[in-house]
């Protein structure tokens, strides 16, 4: 930091006299041109007075201005001691956006820096086990889901989701129909293949808990290998694709296979228990920041 001391001397002079008159500029006409001897005298008869002008009192003011020149700071950097809000000056901070194929672990264009999103949606689901497919009225049932994603714009993220499903149960001869209601809570790590691209394909795998409840079925008057409910651990895995824009709006499409631990929900007449492995094809919309 270098300090420059300026001393300014100002003289306030009355009349045409200077206490220390400067040398005239050759290019400028003199303020008091020399008297032309040939010029007529205004009034030769007028008494000549030896006039000696009296210089006015001279007032000298000395002002010291101390300034700081930010010669060591880069352009745009705030001046120490002076807040930007005080000056109205918003410092420009250059931001380098990750390229679409970047694997950077930070996205400066997002408030979260990593991409945090919330989505809701729905889709289709079905069992892969033959016995379960034959138990529900259709091979394809409906599902609804809600998901929070942490790290949609970095290579590795985390999805936490709830998935609900419902399927009609056709039991016997059109009677004792019920509804198989599934509830799933799961978490999965997601590998974002193009984390900073507008279109981001991703893979995921995780673990969770799944419960099935049989509702509205006439258990009391039937002989059935179907339990009223069952809880299993489940392991989702699959792939998806996220479509997003700068506004934060995003659309997510995904396909999932869920492997489950052994279930006792449905026992067949051969003594075997049906497995609850299932698939899902779903879409959702949401917002990320």
């Amino acid at each position: 930091m270098r300090k420059i001391l300026f001393v300014v001397a100002c003289s306030l002079v009355a009349g045409s006299a200077f206490a220390d008159p400067p040398k005239p500029d050759p290019g400028m006409p003199p303020l008091n041109p020399p008297t032309d001897p040939t010029a007529p005298t205004a009034d030769p008869t007028a008494p000549v007075t030896d006039f000696t002008p009296t210089p006015p009192p001279v007032t000298t003011t000395t002002t010291t201005i101390e300034t700081t020149t930010p010669v060591d700071n880069p352009p745009g950097a705030p001046v120490p001691g002076i807040a930007a809000s005080d000056t109205g000056f918003v410092p420009y901070q250059p931001v380098e956006a990750p390229g679409p194929y970047s694997y950077a672990w930070h996205d400066p264009y997002l408030a979260s820096g990593i991409g945090v999103g919330f989505n809701i949606g729905g889709g289709l689901t079905g069992f892969t086990d033959r016995a379960m497919r034959n138990t529900v009225s259709s091979n394809v049932g409906g599902l609804w889901d809600a998901r929070a994603s942490f790290g949609t714009h970095i290579p590795i993220g985390l999805d936490v989701g709830y998935i609900g499903s419902a399927a009609n149960i056709n039991t016997i001869n059109g009677n004792a129909n019920g509804t198989l209601v599934g509830t799933t809570v799961e978490a999965a790590l997601r590998y974002n293949i193009l984390p900073h691209n507008t279109i981001n394909p991703y893979l995921f795998a995780g673990a969770g808990w799944q419960r099935y409840d049989v509702q509205n079925m006439h258990f009391a008057q039937s002989d059935t290998g179907m339990a009223p409910h069952d809880d299993v651990a489940e392991f989702p895995m699959g792939a998806g694709i996220g479509l997003r824009d700068l506004s934060g709006f995003n659309v997510d499409l995904r396909g999932t296979f869920r492997a489950t631990t052994d279930s006792t929900l449905l026992q067949e007449s051969n003594g075997n228990y049906a497995q609850l492995h299932s698939w899902e094809a779903s879409g959702s919309v949401g917002y990320e920041f």
């Binding site: 001869n173 004792a176 008057q221 059935t224 067949e268």
Partner: protein, 153 residues
Amino acid sequence: MLALTGAACSEDPSATAPFAHVVDACAPIALTTTATGAELASVAQATALWTAVGVTGPGEPGATATISVAFVPSTPGVFGFYDDADLTLEISDALSDDQRAIVIAHELGHAFGLLHVPPSERVSVMNAGNLAIVPTADDRLAVAALWGDCANR
């Protein structure tokens, strides 16, 4: 262990059961079916299973109630159903001969007003999902608790 009351039939057993209609297990009951062959034989076998433990209503002549038995397609985990609205036993057509007789006996138990018995409580033909257990002496006591002891009616 259930107590054998030997008392008179409950005046209204259905009042404590979830069924719209039940039948007196000790009164003569006719089982009707259009089935033939092994399925028809299973109906007779189920009747014999209850008679063997002293529940004598099924198969007795001079029936005062009729229960129809139908063999129908079902989903893999559903073996039988007692349709209490029209006194019909609907039995899966995918069962083996032995399983079929036991499921008919199970559904007859519902027609008598019996509810499911948890396996942890006792072994019973009324265990949910039962495909192997025939009516037991305790099942006879359960019937007697509703309708009295058939031998002393």
